[in-house]
């Protein structure tokens, strides 16, 4: 066991000190952060054109309350929702704000229909106006004392629904789940490929540099293989953790900086009250609110734990196979014929992920998330949508037994392969090694 630790330590340290590791560690978060930051920047960029927002207010409370801004014009319409939507599309309105009638005395929800994602500024302005209005209505209706004041602190749930020419509606909320699922599965796919290939390259390096026989005269071949696989797993985890921490740092630094910037920009010609009520601070509140909404709908602890599990499980399953490939060849150029059967299930699962995300509880999703070779990628697509626990446990159990089996198989190929030089190895030969 002590020797496996030595091997793990060497594999880990030599890789973590490499320049390529350090570069990847810095580049990764920059890319990921830009994924978060770019949409915010783009949506906040005013395009300078006149924006027309149609207001369909069934309650009648907000008539005339939305003030026209520099390039925003509010127009109050009276019609039913469907024709208002059509109208908005026809006239190429920026958005349609729909405040439905409610049973309650005051409304607490509204919907923005738009072709493009409405800018954070516009949304927070609308939310703000409505909030103030509703609050003053409530204040009016009741005597004001401590308890009442607390109870009337209201929250507005602003659901954004996209409409397009085909008339389909989609809640942005599922998009979050879809995005999250696809993001996690792509991440797992990439990690398995990158670090699996590192295992393979490491084995080939030991074989072609002829050090392997020196090492296996001190440790068992299986210990060497295991040490290498585990060492590189820790490299992967380290990189992943650094990415998360750095991405988070970059995004939060950006948020603070950006909030300051928008505050400064909006300052001239406005009253202090308006500045306090509007963008900057509101943008932040909006973002945090969305995060809160997500946290409520998605079980993040399940998400993180299952990510770590499927990342490790999938990696271990494939890394053993990659190690076996590395042991069977003399150089990287010879790996092609053996890479195919290993990479096909991986590539298939990343292709299937796009269908699974459309129907995360269908039979395709079920089977692909159960079979160990595809489950790491596919299960991560399903998890943000919520997965029946029986499916999850079955998948976990099968993945664990899957990597036990592949590691055992790979060990048999490995111990023969690493001492075999100058011979073109066929599948038949490998089958003999396994049986042997």
């Amino acid at each position: 066991m002590n020797k496996v630790l030595l091997i793990i330590k060497r594999e880990y340290l030599t890789r973590v000190r490499k320049r390529s590791f350090i570069i990847m560690t810095i580049l990764g978060p920059l890319l990921m952060a830009s994924v978060f930051i770019l949409p915010i920047v783009l949506s906040q960029m005013s395009d300078g054109s006149q924006k027309n927002i149609a207001v369909l207010d069934e309650t009648g409370i907000f008539y005339g309350k939305f003030q026209d801004g520099d390039n925003i014009h509010f127009e109050y319409v009276v019609s039913d929702l469907e024709s208002a939507k059509e109208n908005a599309l026809e006239r190429e309105d920026y958005a349609l704000l729909y405040i439905p009638k409610t049973e309650l005395s005051v409304p607490s929800a509204a919907v923005i229909y738009s072709q493009d994602q409405p800018s954070v500024n516009v949304k927070s302005y609308i939310r703000n106006v409505m909030k103030k209005e509703v609050e003053s209505l409530k204040l009016e209706a009741s005597g004001v004392d401590e308890d009442v004041l607390r109870s009337i602190r209201s929250k507005i749930s602003l659901t954004t629904i996209k409409i397009d020419e085909s008339g389909e509606e989609e809640k942005t909320f599922t998009e979050v789940s879809m995005g999250l699922g696809i993001f996690a599965s792509i991440l797992i796919y990439m990690f398995i490929f990158i670090f699996g290939a590192q295992v393979m390259r490491g084995v080939i390096e030991e074989k072609s540099s002829r050090i392997v026989e020196i090492i296996v005269s001190s440790v068992k071949p299986f210990q060497l293989m295991l040490g290498k696989i585990l060492g590189i797993a820790f490299v992967g985890l380290t990189q992943f953790l650094l990415w998360i921490v750095l991405t988070f740092a970059i995004v939060s630094v950006f948020q603070v900086a950006y909030a300051d910037m928008t505050l400064m920009q909006n300052a001239p010609g406005r009253t202090a009250q308006e500045i306090l009520d509007e963008p900057g601070s509101m943008a932040e509140e909006d973002a945090t609110e969305r995060i809160f909404e997500m946290i409520h709908s998605i079980d993040f602890s399940v998400m993180i734990w299952s990510f770590l599990f499927y990342f490790l499980g999938g990696y271990l399953l494939y890394a053993a196979l990659f190690a076996a490939i590395g042991s069977a060849v003399d150089s990287e150029a010879d790996t092609q014929q053996f890479m195919m059967p290993v990479t096909i299930p991986l590539i298939l699962s990343i292709i299937m992920a796009q269908f699974v995300v459309q129907n995360p509880n269908g039979p395709v999703a079920f089977w692909f998330s159960i079979i160990p070779l595809t489950s790491p990628v596919i299960m991560m697509v399903r998890i943000p949508f919520g997965v029946p626990l029986t499916d999850l446990y079955l998948s976990i159990a099968l993945l664990i037994s899957g990597f036990v089996v592949t590691t055992w198989l790979a060990g048999k190929i490995y111990r023969t392969g690493i001492l075999m030089y100058g011979k073109k190895i066929s599948y038949k030969e490998i089958w003999k090694w396994i049986k042997y």
């Binding site: 020797k3 091997i7 002829r210 050090i211 026989e213 020196i214 090492i215 296996v216 001190s218 001492l419």
Partner: protein
């Protein structure tokens, strides 16, 4: 006292028999030559001794006790196919390999510094292996083989890839290790170095052991009644001096001295030859020619092939 015994070792690979009931006894303090043509099964036997692969049948004894996994710490092995991690620093790598052999870190550093100094490699400690010349890399490999002071050393073709200066350096080190009490198994087809270094040998051919014993005994056993004589004062045909069943193998002239190799017929002694020569020629030197290990090797291997 034998350090290591392999008894009736057999090993079958998928397509061929690599070892067929091979036994060897390696006496304490000896240099034991493991000889045989390519593909005879030497490397398989060595890998079995190092527990890299397991024999199908047979026993392995280390100092009389069945060999256990941790006994490999008492062995140092320099394989024929050898190398180092190219991108790793020399010292770090030597330390890693020593620790894998069971040395503690402090102990390993102390001993490595001693050997690195001895081979004037100390200034290369923090350099990458790929910056070293091939000869220096070989020295590093030699050091990590012996650094844990094993009781049994196994060198598989140790001189391949070394230049003559380093071959001598290595020979001296090997003899030095023997002096200090190490037992050495030495696999090679370089017969000159066998005669020079080995006390005992085992010859393996076609997965079987066909010859073993002390080098001195074997050469005596295979001597073929051949003598070399140098003389002058006789200018006739040498053949005329001898009986028809004696055979003149070769004859050369070195200035005014004639040198001949003669194989005497069975039963004849050296004195018979001298008696025949003395009346006709002035004899300058005379000695019996023992067969070289090379001759024995070739004749034994061919004999088996012929049969």
């Amino acid at each position: 006292m034998t350090v290591f015994t392999a008894g009736n070792i057999s090993k079958r690979y998928i397509n061929h028999q690599a070892l067929d009931s091979v036994s060897i006894d390696v006496p304490e303090g000896s240099i034991f030559g493991l000889l045989g043509p390519n593909g005879a099964g030497k490397t398989t036997l060595i890998r079995i001794i190092n527990r890299i692969i397991a024999p199908d049948t047979g026993t392995l004894l280390f100092r009389g006790d069945p060999m256990k996994r941790h006994d490999i710490h008492r062995i140092g092995y320099l394989p024929e196919e050898r190398g180092l991690y190219k991108k790793m620093k020399v010292g770090e790598q030597a330390l890693y390999l020593s620790q894998l052999k069971g040395l503690s870190k402090q102990d390993a550093i102390r001993r490595l510094r001693y050997w690195f100094e001895k081979f004037s490699l100390l200034e290369w400690w923090d350099r990458k292996v790929e910056e070293l010349s091939k000869g220096m890399q070989q020295k590093v490999q030699f050091i990590v083989t012996i650094v844990h002071e094993p009781e049994l050393l196994i060198f598989d073709e140790p001189f391949s890839g070394f230049d003559p200066i380093n071959v001598n350096l290595l020979k001296d080190e090997i003899l030095g290790l023997k002096e200090k009490g190490s037992t050495i198994i030495f696999s090679t087809h370089n017969m000159a170095s066998v005669e020079e270094l080995c006390d005992h040998i085992a010859l393996i051919n076609n997965s079987r052991k066909i010859l073993d014993g002390k080098v001195k005994d074997i050469r005596n056993q295979y001597k073929a009644n051949i003598y070399e004589i140098s003389f002058n004062g006789f200018s006739g045909y040498l053949k005329d001096l001898f009986a028809p069943d004696d055979e003149v193998l070769s004859e050369t002239t070195d200035e005014d001295l004639r040198v001949a190799r003669v194989r005497l017929a069975e039963g004849k002694k050296a004195n018979d030859m001298l008696n025949m020569m003395l009346p006709h020629a002035e004899i300058h030197s005379f000695h019996e020619v023992l067969p070289t290990m090379n001759d024995i090797f070739i004749s034994k291997v061919n004999e088996k092939r012929g049969s």
